[in-house]
Symmetry: C2
Subunit: 340 residues, 2 copies
Amino acid sequence: MNIGEIARRAGVSRSTVSYALSGKRPVSDETRRKIQDVIDELGYRPNASARALANGRTSTIGLVFPPAGNHYTGMQLDFIGSVVEAAAAHDYDVLLSPSGVDSDRSFQRLLGERRVDGAILMEIRLEDDRADHLAALDFPAVAIGRTAHPESGWWVGLDHTALAAACVHHLADLGHRRVAFVNRPEQLLRAGYESAHRGLDGFTKAAAERGLTVRTYCCGDDAASGQACLEQILHDDPATTALVTLNEAALGGLYRGLSQAGRHVPRDFSVTGVVAGRWAETVTPQLTAADVPAEEMGRRAVDLLIERLDHPGAPPRHHLLAPPISLRASTGPAGGTPSA
Amino acid sequence: MNIGEIARRAGVSRSTVSYALSGKRPVSDETRRKIQDVIDELGYRPNASARALANGRTSTIGLVFPPAGNHYTGMQLDFIGSVVEAAAAHDYDVLLSPSGVDSDRSFQRLLGERRVDGAILMEIRLEDDRADHLAALDFPAVAIGRTAHPESGWWVGLDHTALAAACVHHLADLGHRRVAFVNRPEQLLRAGYESAHRGLDGFTKAAAERGLTVRTYCCGDDAASGQACLEQILHDDPATTALVTLNEAALGGLYRGLSQAGRHVPRDFSVTGVVAGRWAETVTPQLTAADVPAEEMGRRAVDLLIERLDHPGAPPRHHLLAPPISLRASTGPAGGTPSA
DNA sequence: TGAAGGAGTCGAACCGGTTCGACTCATCGC
DNA sequence: GCGATGAGTCGAACCGGTTCGACTCCTTCA
């Protein structure tokens, strides 16, 4: 069941078996065939730990994902799925690492104990100690999201600034003048999550540019918070006629709040934002939104990481994506019905 | 940076360092302190591959999850998150394995190459070759779901039969007489997915028991399919006043279909089913449903697996869960408005 | 015809840990 | 005063691969 056993049965040395498998030195056809027969017969597969120990590569990448205590959003699910799939295509496995409460500990496991060849980071912050740490170690990593200093790193990012601005322009073009912004939870904003910050930034600037009256809100990642947030919005300014949101998980709650306030979407109230496409389609009316290309981002992150692993010392590369707004059914001209 | 370096700097042998770390043999306080100082100074962590090679355990469990080509449902996301979290609590990492198109290949990676100590299987089928294969190998595995022969295995399951029946009884108690069942996609039913089969079974039997008129449907895992399915239901029997579904991802589409057909939930039409709680709460009105305790199931699966790893040869254990129906807002008495 | 070179193979060292047997040295009981 | 006991330590073997250097043939070409 190990390489020695194969060698014995095939009547060759262990190194010959190794070379027959790796092809790193020539092996005669006859020998190769004999070895292959034994391998097929016994169903032999080389031990991954031994191989990793010998050649220093684990063929595994780490996926560092958000604290498990929080809810996961559908977008994160899409990232995970696409990363696993893309990694498999390159013959890499994916090790999940919760960068939760004790993020140091799991980092130590991944890097210190050499469990992975490289890492993909999710839920990036503008000032991200994990990213800094990895950069300082020159450890092969790719971020999904970009820090405040994006030039020096490897990442795949979404241009949240531009996307939020595009949402504002879309609403302004439809004649909306009083618009709310529903962000991720306050605790994430305080922690410096880049999507929350850049999205807010893009929203604010574009709104100023178009002379809109705006209010901005943080909202928990669940339906109940979304509903509460919407009540607050209408309480603070009943004349609000539209909102932009980054908060996928709150979307259902926002819709519920609107429906209970008697505002029809899109006749009385327009909703748009930045959300993964398949989740935008689950609500009624379907959400007009900048669709987060989660699958593409995961795939590109893996491709970049593989490239970095294959070419150590290569200069940093990155992709900044800015998908267009998909027009669905949740936005319409302002003033269909004057607000109560 | 390896154990020999630590030993050299501390002026002891490699084995002493190993014993100081593992505690498997006594080491004097003074020696232990010297070693610890060196370790702290250098930030040493033992190499996981070397350790795995030497003691035969990787401290990693494999999570075999569904084909990536399909959409993931929120429930699956919850499983993944809770499994990772529970595994971390036991000092295990989680390796994701897509059991996709080429499920043999990734199985070979996991088991043949000894990348994991044990495995957790998701999306179980009644006749599940993966489960059979693992059982034949006596490989430590725990299924989330149960096959047609549940006595012999380790698993954490949901009593879909009872849950679907409970939904039927709930609707029958409210006076509904014509009820539809919306299952997972036909391809999954054909493949023998246990939740689809047992759920259908429980629905059919309970409906017969209560003398209901029923139709059953398969429905794709997305909103568009849900909407189409609902149109079909009302086309086939416009007098239908309620439905039971196992299809979380189609839920938004079903609601949209109802709304577009002018059926108000719950006044004209009741909806219930088996869905993870936090997703039941994102739709409006919130879904009265048997809440899938995804988090608990993931946690219990990990606990069982750890137990099995720690006590090889222990007799099979399992948990069959049957959470009660959470009454929310999507069901009501039949006949509120006679159907058009 | 003999040196050069390449194909094919082997043995040994190595990767970085763990663990077993053996050794030394105190301590203790009789 | 001496053997038994156990704490503390070391060296060597081992886990299962990879890789380097060296060796043997067999061709090829001067």
